[in-house]
Assembly symmetry: C2
Homo-oligomer: 353 residues x 2
C-alpha cells in the first residue's frame, strides 16, 4: 500500500469547509484504490497572519516542500485589506507560488451536460465546452520590478524573459498534444512590447510541436470570443494577468465558479486549488460548493501522484452527484432534485467514489 | 443655419464603408434639423502609412484640431503587422488619441429589446442591460515608460499619476450623475501597486459626489460578473487595458460588436468611433454592420455639438430599422425580416431619421 504525504492549506473564509470535503473524498477513494494519505496542515493567508504575523510562515514552505503535493483552499478577506501590502493574505499566496516555482497554472473549463442550463450563456453556446487555460503564474506584472507607489504615482512592470515564455509555452503545447492539438496564445502584441516578445517566442517553440496548430489572439478579442463561441478554444496560453482575467471569465461558461479546479505545476511539488476565492460572505454557513476543491483533489491524484484510477473515480462521482440532481445553493435553480449543504455534497460524492 | 466641420478619418478595412453610411445618415438629419456639415477627410492607419510613410501624418492632427469633432472608422490589418512598431497602424491611433488629449473613452453597452435573442447570453440575463464603460485612454500600460524589448526580455510599465486618475474619475462620476448614480471602479488592488493608488484616488474623488454610490471590484471578478449578472452595473470606471478587455467583453451582451459606438472625450476635440476594429477579412464585401458607426455619429451630435434632437432622431431610426427586422449579415439569424448590405442598412436608417 502506497502512502502519500499531502500538505493541506485550508486558508481563510470557506477554505476550511471545502478542504474538509475534499479530504473526505480522498479518504473514500484511498480505501478502494489501495493507497493511503497522510495529511499535514499548514497555515497561509489571513489566518497565518493572525497567528504568526506572517501570511506565509517559513514552516508552511517546509511542510509543502516535504510533501508529495499541496491541496489548498483559498485565502483573503476584507478583514486584512488594510494591512501593509506584504502582510496581506494575497502576498502570502504570491510568495508561496514563487517559492515553490509553480510557473504553470492549469485551469480547465468544462461544461457538465448535467448543468447545461446553469450558465448565463445559452445552452447551445456552452454545450460541450472543454478548454484549458494555461496561465503563467510566477512572472509578468504580478512580480515585475520596478514597482511601487507614493501619493502621486503608482507603477508596476509587466515583464517576461525568453526563458519564462519558453517553459510555459512547452507546457501548453505538451498539454495540447494530449487534447485536441490546438493552442491559442493570447497577448496584446499590437500595443505591448512584452507581448511582441511573447508572440515571437511562442511561435519559435511551436516549431517543436508540428502537430499542434498555433494561433494568436489579442486579449480584448479573446474576452469577446470566449463568450461568443467558446468551443473554438482547446488550450489558451496566457501570461499571468491575462490568464487571471480570462480564466475567471471562462468559469462562467460552466455555470458556477464553484465548480472549477486548478493545478499549479512546473516544479517538484504542485499546488491544487479551486479557482474561486475565499468568499468570506458565505464562510461558515455550510453553503459553499465543494466541487471545485474535490475536482482539484482529482487533478492532484492525476498530475502529481499518477493515480489515474482514483482520479477517474472522483470525476465519475462528481458527475453522478450532479446527474442525480444534488445541488449546493449556488446551483439550486438548475435542475435540482435536492439542495444540499457543503458537507452533504462531500458525503454524497465520497459515497459514490 | 449652423455649419459644423467634421473631420472624417475612414482608416483601413471596413472603415471607409461604414463611415460612408454614417455620413449618409448625418446628411439626412441635417436637412431636417437646420444644421449642415462640412467634411474634411484625413488619413490614419495603414492607408496613411502606404501613402505617406507615416500612420499618423501631421496633417491629420491639424485637420482634426481644426474641426468641431472627429468621426473615425477603424485602422489596422495583417498587411502592416510586420512593420516596426512605430510605423504600425495602431501606433498612429495611439499617438492620435494622445495628441488630441482625449483621455476618457466612453463605451456604452446597451441591449436593444429588438435584438434580445442575438446575444450568446440568455435573454433573461441581458434584457435591459444599459451600462457605460468609462475607460482611461491615454495612460496606463499603453503609454508607460520605460518599455522595450530585445531578444531575451520584453517589458512595459503600467503607471498612473494622481492627476490622471482624478480627471478620469470625475468623468465617471459626472456621467453617473446623469444615469443611475452608481460607479463601480475596476482594479487589481490586491496585487498591483498602481491599482492601490487608483483605488485610493477614486475613493477621494467620490467624496465630491455624495449622491453617487461607489463600489470597487477586482478585474478578474468583473470579467465574471459582466456575464453572470450584467444589470448590476451602471458606470464601470477602468484603466486603459482593463477597459479595453472589459468593453470588448461587454459588447457581446448586445449580440454583435457591430452595434456599439464610443466617444473619446476630455479635450477640446472629441473622437467618435465604433468599438470594433477594421475587420480586414470582410472589407469591401458590403456586409459590415454600419450601426456602431452611425451610433457613434449620434454620440458626436450629442456630446460634441449639443444637437440632441438630431441625435435622438438617429437613435430612433436605428431602433426602428432593427424593430422592423432589417439585419446585416452579423445578425442575420436573429428575428430578421430582411438581410441587407452595409449601404442598404445605411439608407434605411437615413430614410427613417
Ligand atoms: C487572490 C489573487 C492574488 C489571485 C490571483 O490574482 O492570482 C486569484 O485571483 C487567483 O486567480 O488565483
Ligand atoms: C487597435 C487597438 C490599439 C485599440 C486599443 O487597444 O485601444 C482597440 O482595441 C480599441 O479598443 O480601440
Amino acid at each position: 500500500m502506497k502512502t502519500y504525504k499531502i500538505a493541506l492549506i485550508k486558508g481563510d473564509g470557506i477554505g476550511p469547509e471545502i478542504i474538509d470535503e475534499a479530504v473526505k473524498v480522498l479518504d473514500a477513494v484511498a480505501s478502494c484504490c489501495d493507497i493511503e494519505f497522510s495529511y499535514e496542515e499548514a497555515l497561509m493567508g489571513g489566518c497565518a497572519y493572525d497567528i504568526t504575523g506572517d501570511p506565509l510562515p517559513q514552516e508552511t514552505i517546509n511542510i509543502s516542500l516535504n510533501s508529495d503535493a499541496v491541496l489548498f483552499g483559498a485565502i483573503g478577506g476584507t478583514k486584512w485589506d488594510n494591512l501593509p501590502r506584504e502582510k496581506r493574505p494575497e502576498s502570502g499566496l504570491l510568495r508561496f507560488r514563487k517559492e515553490l516555482g509553480v510557473y504553470a497554472n492549469l485551469r480547465p473549463a468544462v461544461v457538465y451536460d448535467e448543468l447545461i442550463n446553469a450558465s448565463s450563456l445559452k445552452a447551445e453556446v456552452v454545450k460541450g465546452v472543454d478548454l484549458m487555460v494555461v496561465r503563467e503564474l510566477i512572472g509578468g506584472i504580478y512580480f515585475g520590478e520596478p514597482k511601487g507607489r507614493d501619493e502621486n504615482r503608482g507603477y508596476n512592470t509587466m515583464v517576461y524573459t525568453r526563458d519564462e515564455i519558453v517553459r510555459i509555452a512547452h507546457q501548453a503545447f505538451k498539454i495540447a498534444m494530449t487534447r485536441s492539438k490546438r493552442v491559442c496564445s493570447i497577448d496584446k502584441a499590437n500595443v505591448l512590447d512584452v507581448s511582441q516578445l511573447w508572440r515571437d517566442v511562442v511561435t519559435e517553440v511551436s516549431k517543436e510541436y508540428p502537430e499542434v496548430e498555433l494561433s494568436h489572439m489579442y486579449v480584448d478579442n479573446a474576452a469577446m470570443q470566449l463568450i461568443r463561441d467558446p468551443r473554438q478554444f482547446d488550450v489558451m496560453l496566457t501570461g499571468n494577468i491575462f490568464g487571471d482575467i480570462l480564466s475567471d471569465e471562462a468559469s462562467m461558461l460552466s455555470g458556477s465558479i464553484g465548480l472549477l479546479p486548478s493545478a499549479s505545476v512546473g516544479a517538484k511539488i504542485g499546488v491544487y486549488e479551486p479557482i474561486h476565492g475565499s468568499a468570506p460572505d458565505i464562510a461558515g454557513q455550510g453553503i459553499a460548493n465543494p466541487i471545485a476543491t474535490i475536482s482539484s483533489a482529482s487533478m492532484m491524484l492525476r498530475y502529481a501522484l499518477g493515480e489515474n484510477d482514483a482520479a477517474d473515480k472522483i470525476d465519475a462521482a462528481v458527475k453522478r452527484a450532479l446527474k442525480e440532481g444534488y445541488r449546493t445553493k449556488d446551483l439550486a435553480q438548475y435542475d435540482a432534485k435536492e439542495i444540499c449543504s457543503t458537507s452533504e455534497m462531500g458525503s454524497i460524492i465520497a459515497n459514490y467514489a
